[in-house]
């Protein structure tokens, strides 16, 4: 455990820690591009210069290990000058097309320039032109001109995804990243290269030109794409959710997430959401006023239903808290244990690609299993199928999946459910076409909230319980399963729908933080100084 002094602060670090890691862990500011805590050390950007006492030359912090009694300093004039003119070299051939660059606003170059650069370029020669808008693969577009050759993406494909698609070609100022002839950058983790790219050289096709970075607000949540439960940030504004990025959690996902998980924001957006409360009776679909009222009316219906004729179907996509409340109502109020676990991924549940992606595409299968066993419920799916066939189950409540994209059997399963006398569907999505079901006689469809609109916890494949907070509200009138459970048990519930102007406003925003609408009005410039 060597002791060192960094910028006058005495630190004790683990053996083998590099200076930059020590500074990063202790929130000290240091310029860097090529170093990334999740990747190997390259030492190509030469920006993380530090002065070490007793050493005549400046050293790079990323490749220098802390030794006993080291006195390190990166605020001296010598270091500042080195960083400043190192940055000038990086920007020699950089096109400075920030206005059309997607990275603008969250760009490493912009940040470093404001923090450490602030020079006037000394270059008289014209800039080297390179390829623009290069299609690297199904998810990524490359702009060679903007690239500063930090090699983070190359190291990522070498070390993390282990697919080795990317490389640096040519030399000198002709050097650029690219893929080998005919090969595409096509792997399940390709979009991580966009995240780690410190400039706008790699851009995501999905997000390209959709929004400027400064229009987006972010909020942390848990990815519900599979049972790994990666920690992610969702980015949104009043027009909807736009992208998902990973956040660091050493116990779950490290710094990365998969490309599949980046699509989870799509089903939470308005166009795929069930917005209306619908009721089918005597062959006519009728729109009900609000879901809360519909659920309250169901309380009367359900209290009259014979317990053996009532069943509940659930998927592993709701939170632990919701399972507790709905099972509590079912077991204690209705004296009913006909609860079935709809698991489309049971066969592939154990698949694992070695990094993050798991075959079980439900974030909370474990949580549902735990909840069911804690209430002493052990049912078989075949019992439900037989029950529907033999008409012993007459009222069926289905809590549909949120991430409908991963349920291939959605339509056929719902067709099967439609054979019961009274079908109650709690769904977030408008994907299932109920109009096509001939046997459907009495049905209620209640819109529900997705994981970004709820506070709760998921239990991942390893049994790790991860709490998450509500990120924002998209469908203000939709119910959570908690609310639904209280309403069908006959309780009165005061639900205050979120006013329209507060939709898509981050819920975990501290009060003193500048809100998006202020940002748009330019006021944030003044508060930031």
């Amino acid at each position: 455990m060597p002791k060192c002094t960094i910028n006058g602060v005495e630190l004790e670090v683990k053996d083998g820690t590099t200076i930059i890691q020590a500074m990063y862990d202790n929130h000290q500011k240091i310029a860097h591009y090529c170093w990334h805590p999740g990747l190997s050390i390259a030492g190509v950007c030469r920006l993380c210069m530090v002065e070490i006492e007793g050493n005549p030359r400046l050293q790079i912090a990323c490749n220098t290990v802390v030794t006993e009694g080291m006195k390190i300093n990166n605020t001296s004039l010598k270091v500042q000058e080195a960083v400043k003119w190192g940055l000038d070299f990086h920007l020699i051939n950089h096109p400075l097309d920030c206005p059309i660059c997607d990275q603008a606003g969250e760009c490493g170059l912009q940040d470093q320039y404001m923090d450490f650069g602030q020079y006037t370029s000394e270059m008289a020669e014209p800039k080297q032109k390179k390829r623009k808008v290069v299609d690297l693969g199904p998810t990524i577009v490359l702009d060679s001109e903007r690239c500063i050759l930090c090699s983070r993406c190359v190291r990522f494909t070498d070390e993390v995804s282990k697919t080795n698609e990317l490389g640096i070609f040519n030399r000198g100022d002709h050097a650029e990243i690219g893929t080998h002839d005919g090969k595409k950058l096509d792997n399940n983790y390709s979009l991580n290269t966009v995240d780690i790219c410190p400039v706008g050289a790699l851009t995501s096709k999905d997000f390209r030109f959709k929004q400027r970075a400064w229009y987006l607000k972010d909020s942390e949540t848990i990815c519900n794409g599979c049972s790994t439960g990666c920690n992610v940030k969702v980015y949104f504004n009043k027009e909807g959710l736009f992208r998902v990025k990973p956040t660091y959690n050493p116990e779950v996902n490290g710094y990365w997430m998969c490309d599949e998980g980046r699509n989870v924001y799509k089903f939470a957006n308005k166009e795929y959401r069930q917005s209306q409360t619908l009721q089918l009776s005597q062959g006519v679909w009728k729109q009900l006023e609000n879901p809360g009222k519909a659920a309250k009316d169901l309380a009367d219906v359900l209290s009259k239903v014979n317990s053996s004729e009532l069943a509940l179907v659930m998927t592993g996509q709701q939170t632990n808290e919701e399972y507790q409340s709905i099972l509590n109502v079912f077991v204690n109020n209705f004296k009913n244990k006909n609860v079935y676990h709809w698991n489309s991924h049971a066969a592939t549940a154990d698949q694992f690609d070695g990094l993050l992606i798991r075959g079980d595409k439900n974030p909370n299968t474990k949580g549902l299993q735990n909840a069911l066993s804690s209430f002493g419920i052990a049912t078989k799916w075949s019992d439900l199928e037989n029950g529907i066939k033999q008409n012993t189950i007459k009222t069926l409540i289905v809590v549909g999946p949120e991430n409908v994209g991963v349920y291939n059997d959605l339509q056929e399963k719902f067709e099967q459910f439609s054979n019961v006398k009274n079908l109650i569907v709690l769904t977030t999505s408008n994907v299932v076409k109920f109009e096509g079901f001939k046997n459907l006689s009495l049905a209620t469809i209640i819109p529900m909230k997705t994981f970004v609109e709820k506070t709760g916890s998921f239990t991942n494949y390893a049994g790790k319980v991860q709490k998450f907070k509500r990120a924002t509200t998209i469908m203000s009138t939709a119910l959570t399963l908690d609310e639904f459970a209280s309403l069908i048990s006959g309780q009165d519930l005061q639900i205050n729908p979120v006013p329209i102007q507060d939709l898509f406003v981050a819920d975990n925003t501290p009060v003193d933080q500048v809100r998006l609408d202020h940002r748009k009005k330019n006021e944030f410039l003044f508060t930031k100084g």
């Binding site: 059309i100 014209p126 800039k127 229009y215 009005k521 330019n522």
Partner: protein, 178 residues
């Protein structure tokens, strides 16, 4: 009390007399009347709408979107104008341009003229001289007229005669290696 300094005009007691005040007023009115009859040129008012006032070239009126040499729209859809707009009246939808040198361009650019306060911040924010506030200001519409101007109107309306050319040229910029 009277010694306290005040910004208010201390009116003499005589000003409270009706006849004195109105006579003074009438003198001013009639002196202008006579002046205007004999010397029309120095008259302060004009006969709008037959006569129109020429504003300076710096007047901030309706927006113009400039065009490139080939007549295509200059705007790169960077959204800096929309970000800077205090009235939030600019709405841009960006898209990918088939030409990689252009890369990004607006497929729709709308300004809600009824919200616009003509502050000129959009013009200031624009990095490529794509938006200017032009000299036009008399653009009335009938009841129910659409005051949300789109690209067709902003860049190619008839009185611009094919569009105003931007001073920032991509080709020259690329040639110079900037």
């Amino acid at each position: 009390m009277s010694d306290t300094p005040t910004v208010l005009e201390q009116k003499p007691a005589s000003s409270q007399w009706y006849l004195i005040g109105i006579t003074k007023g009438l003198v001013i009115t009639f002196s202008h009347l006579i002046k205007n009859i004999f010397n029309k040129k120095q008259m302060m008012t004009i006969n709008y709408p037959e006569e129109k006032y020429d504003y300076s070239s710096r007047f901030k009126g309706n927006h113009i979107l400039t065009v490139k040499k080939d007549g295509a729209i200059r705007c790169t859809a960077c959204m800096l104008c929309a970000t800077n707009c205090p009235a939030e009246c600019i709405k841009i939808t960006a898209s990918e341009h088939p030409n990689p040198e252009v890369e990004k361009y607006p497929i729709s650019y709308e300004i809600d003229m009824l919200r616009c306060v003509f502050c000129g911040y959009c013009e200031e924010a624009c990095p490529v001289d794509a938006i200017r506030l032009g000299p036009e200001w008399q653009t009335p519409g009938l009841n129910g007229a659409d005051f949300t101007y789109d690209i067709k109107h902003l860049a190619y309306r008839a009185n611009l005669k094919g569009g105003v050319q931007s001073v920032v040229d991509d080709k020259e910029r690329l040639k110079a290696g900037i």
